[in-house]
Amino acid sequence: MRLTYPTSFRIIRVPCTGKVDVQHMLRALEKGADGVCIIGCMEGECAYKTGNYRARKRVEQVQRILKAVDIDPERAQMYNLSSSDGPLFGKYAEEMDERIRKLGPNPMKSVQKSAA
């Protein structure tokens, strides 16, 4: 298909989105990631039944935490797609990239630079 997705994306593979914890997302953002995007299977199609539902709830929890510390909650997002749907993955990646570019760099980044 020779599809492309933004070079800003760093993919971390996990066995199921249900494995991704609030702590993992927060650590990524704390260390300077501009955004965290969880892409799980379609709702109702999780091989482990509820993994993607759990992931969605955790993303919502992260969004609440980000709001509480005055960081835009949109930096954490959840998407669902079928594993064979490459074009949709590309579309979601573009969408996430665009959203983050609008928000600008993660404020944690400047803190880390000044500390270094």
């Binding site: 953002l29 935490i65 509480a68 510390v69 960081i71 404020p107 944690m108």
Partner: protein
Amino acid sequence: MIVADKKPVEEIIEYVKDCEKILILGCNECVTVCEAGGKKEVGVLASTLRMYFANHGHSDAVVDERTLERQCDHEYLEEIRDIADQYDAIVSIACGVGIQFTAEKYHSVPVYPGVNTSFLGVTEQRGLWTERCQACGQCILAHTGGICPVARCAKRLLNGPCGGSSKGKCEINKDLDCAWQLIIDRLKAIDRMDLYEKFFNIKDWSTDRAGGPRKVAREDVQI
């Protein structure tokens, strides 16, 4: 176990926003099981506070993490003896017992609660905990089929249901089982309805909380 619920992070921030060095102290026991104060929650709260400080121009603030086996025993709390004094504040996310014992042991360090301690209860299902015991100090479960009317009846009735019991539910909330309905169902199931007919002495409430803070002193195990 002791069931606790997380405090809103805004409330915790309010306690510690002026501190320079903070220790988030978790507990590996009950609050880990009810997902309010274990190692994972320590990590989440510490990350949250670090992001808050960094985002509010206070990037030199230090937030450390530590989780003890228990916070209700001297021996485990002693593990932070050497480091406790370095901190401007300790946020304990153990139950109220652990928070108080930490404050007692480290007298000169402010200790703040990171959870609201709720009750003595069970994990009915993941994410749902319900009350089972009020620690009244005089257990009557032998007569009530193993179901406690003190903890589970809204009126703490000891001699059968009130007029508000309808279709097995309590009048204060249609989703709440009537404790006495449960007791009678259970007594029937174990073929002990004779216990329901039997008269018992008036319950001794002097061991309940109304008499002030309680203690259990057992000379046989004291050294």
